[in-house]
């Protein structure tokens, strides 16, 4: 059946419109209200020139209005481009220009940041203010639409509806060359994952689903869309609570949420800092985790705390959605790494060596993914797209375009894959994917820096901490505080190194590459692993 994402919401609104679609901070929004509000927003977007195929940015904290914004943008036939609400204005400006957004949904109380981001002009035609200001600030001379103005629009679905191959969202991820790149997903590639996940975990009207992942992080597509497909209620974690493991654990258990989809870092913090052991987990039915390697000991403890719940490890870069999964049917008996499992979302996998030939059974190789859930490409980066989406020979015969994940895996038998590591300098911190090269490129733009290396130090709670080592430019002195300030003005907070130390020169390997390993023990600024 041909479907698009807004069908999920429309169907649930028709079937049980009075049920809660969103529950947050004690307020509730029904499926009927969400459907009608999204229709009104879609019409308002169209009235200000947003057309099918356009991109519309979002820069606002999690809220019922932000959820409505996602649906309204999709219903207008446009793709939503969620920008980290904590990102500095410079990054908002970059993404807005790079993605050539036609509109921006934000808040009036962010006017100073908006003015800074768009000081040199703005690509969009209008801004929508979800906090409904009495007087809409004027940014870059553009019209500002307060939320109450949406009431004037009809609540009937707008025409024309999007088609499955239209872009649904563009998620900007860290790019190794110093600029983030936009991963493009269509309604069809999103639904390939969403339909699989909603079916597999039987998301239904009695479910209460946690919404912790920010919308610019791809875990959120399960929260938003699998929840709507099942007619369940979404419980977004308020921005105010999102950094507090104890507050999150209290919210999840207090609201008796039935489905949690978390990063392993988030779960570890709930255990170590969130008092989770003392809370009532009896409502928890499904616990899903993705984004990083799940420590087996942590999994075992979680399974002991909620023995009735179903646990599953989901895997997939933003570019593929979730493409493999491992159903954890019993607590792991040894400390071997948890498998990433078998193909899902209708995808086909291949493990290839560096020449593009299949590896011997059980041998390590790079994971390539072909199938319905794979992205369409990187927005505006044809060359980068062509490098990562390439034709390969499929294991079952025939050629098809597949995505090169950069992840090294091996088949441990019967198609169950184990994750072994990365081919490059991409790392995870708190579930976020970070290209160390992007941070290095930002550091190297500073006039006092000749060379920069960013290192990821393994950490039991947040996967990795970041530190940097820089070589000063001739005659320059390194000021750690001003370098951090420089990074914070360009990068999201989770990408700013905790420590920046200086050295006269970087150690090299015999091939002339920076010897990252040699830098680790002698890194200045104390003991980053403590």
């Amino acid at each position: 059946m041909t479907r698009v994402l807004p069908d999920l919401l429309a169907t649930s609104a028709a079937r049980h419109g009075a049920r809660d679609a969103i529950v947050m901070d004690g307020s509730r929004m029904s499926y009927t209200a969400l459907e009608q509000g999204a229709n009104r927003l879609a019409r308002s977007l169209a009235a200000h020139g947003v057309r099918r195929g356009d991109r519309v940015g979002m820069w606002l904290p999690k809220s019922p209005e932000a959820v409505m914004a996602v649906w309204g943008i999709l219903k207008a036939g446009a793709a939503y481009v969620p920008v980290d609400p904590g990102a500095p204005p410079a990054r908002l400006g970059f993404i807005a220009r790079d993605g050539a957004i036609a509109g921006l949904i934000t808040r009036a109380d962010r006017a100073p940041g908006l003015a800074e981001a768009f000081a040199d002009g703005a690509p969009m035609r209008a801004l929508w203010y979800a906090d409904d200001p009495a007087k809409a600030p004027r940014i870059a001379g553009l019209p500002g639409v307060p939320w109450r103005a949406l009431a004037a629009e009809s609540d009937a679905p707008p025409d024309p509806a999007p088609t499955p191959d239209d872009l649904a969202y563009v998620l900007y991820t860290s790019g190794s060359t110093g600029e983030p790149k936009g991963v493009m997903h269509t309604h069809a590639s999103a639904l390939a994952f969403v339909e699989w996940a909603a079916e597999t975990f039987a998301v239904g009207p009695d479910d209460r689903v946690a919404g912790h992942a920010p919308f610019h992080f791809d875990l959120s597509t399960f929260d938003l869309f699998a929840t709507a497909r099942g007619g369940a209620s979404l419980h977004p974690v308020p921005a105010r609570a999102a950094s507090f493991p104890a507050a999150i654990a209290k919210l999840y258990t207090g609201e008796r949420l039935t489905i949690w989809y978390e990063t392993p870092s988030g779960l570890v913090l709930m255990l170590t800092r969130g008092n989770l052991r003392q809370l009532d987990l009896s409502a928890l039915r499904v616990l899903l985790f993705a984004g990083e390697v799940m420590p087996v000991k942590v999994l075992r403890e979680l399974m002991a705390l909620a023995p009735h719940a179903r646990f599953a490890n989901l895997y997939g870069p933003t570019e593929t959605n979730v493409c493999t999964w491992h159903d954890v049917t019993a607590p792991p008996s040894d400390d071997r790494a948890l498998p990433i499992g078998r193909a899902c979302s209708g995808d086909t996998l291949a493990i290839l060596d560096e020449s593009g030939s299949p590896v011997a059974p059980g041998a390590p190789g790079e994971l390539w993914v072909h199938g319905a859930s794979v992205m369409r490409g990187y927005w505006g980066r044809a060359e980068r797209t062509a490098e990562t989406l390439r034709p390969i020979e499929l294991p079952a015969g025939g050629t098809a375009v597949a995505y090169a994940t950069g992840d090294v895996v091996r088949d441990s038998g019967d198609g169950v894959l184990e994750f072994l590591g990365r081919r490059d300098h991409q790392i995870k911190t708190r579930g976020y994917r970070v290209e160390l090269g992007e941070i290095e490129a930002v550091l190297q733009r500073h006039p006092s820096v000749a060379e920069a290396v960013v290192l990821a130090i393994p950490d039991p709670e947040i996967t990795h901490r970041l530190i940097a080592v820089v070589v000063p430019a001739a005659g320059a002195a390194i000021d750690e505080a001003s370098l951090k300030q420089h990074c914070a003005a360009a990068l999201p907070r989770y990408m700013v190194p905790e420590h920046i130390g200086a050295r006269d020169a970087l150690p090299r390997t015999s091939s002339g590459k920076v010897d990252r390993r040699a830098l680790l023990p002698s890194t200045p600024s104390g003991d980053p692993a403590s």
Binding site: A246, A247, A481, Q485, Y494
Partner: protein, 86 residues
């Protein structure tokens, strides 16, 4: 406005180790750091660790909540409360 010694220490730590993109003069003790998005989960862990080491207290995880961590004032008040055992 004058700051207590605890408030000053907390403020100095925040300015040098967490809010490196801000200037000394614009951190009022009542400024809400969470609603402004200035404290992420790692920053909160660091502030808690700093307070525990600096003031010789143990802050229970169940007290590390938005209302207690939102400003220099509330963080210092939490330290004082834990220190006095109430």
């Amino acid at each position: 406005m004058t700051l207590s010694p605890t408030e000053s220490a907390v403020r100095d730590y925040l300015l040098t180790e967490i809010l490196y993109d801000r200037n000394l003069q614009d951190l009022p003790a009542d400024e809400n750091l969470i609603d402004k998005g200035l404290l992420d989960s790692l920053a909160i862990l660091k502030v808690v660790t700093f307070c525990e080491e600096q003031f010789g207290v143990t802050i229970p995880d169940t007290e590390v909540l938005p209302d207690n961590m939102e400003s220099v004032r509330t963080i210092a008040a939490l330290v004082e409360r834990v220190r006095s055992g109430h």
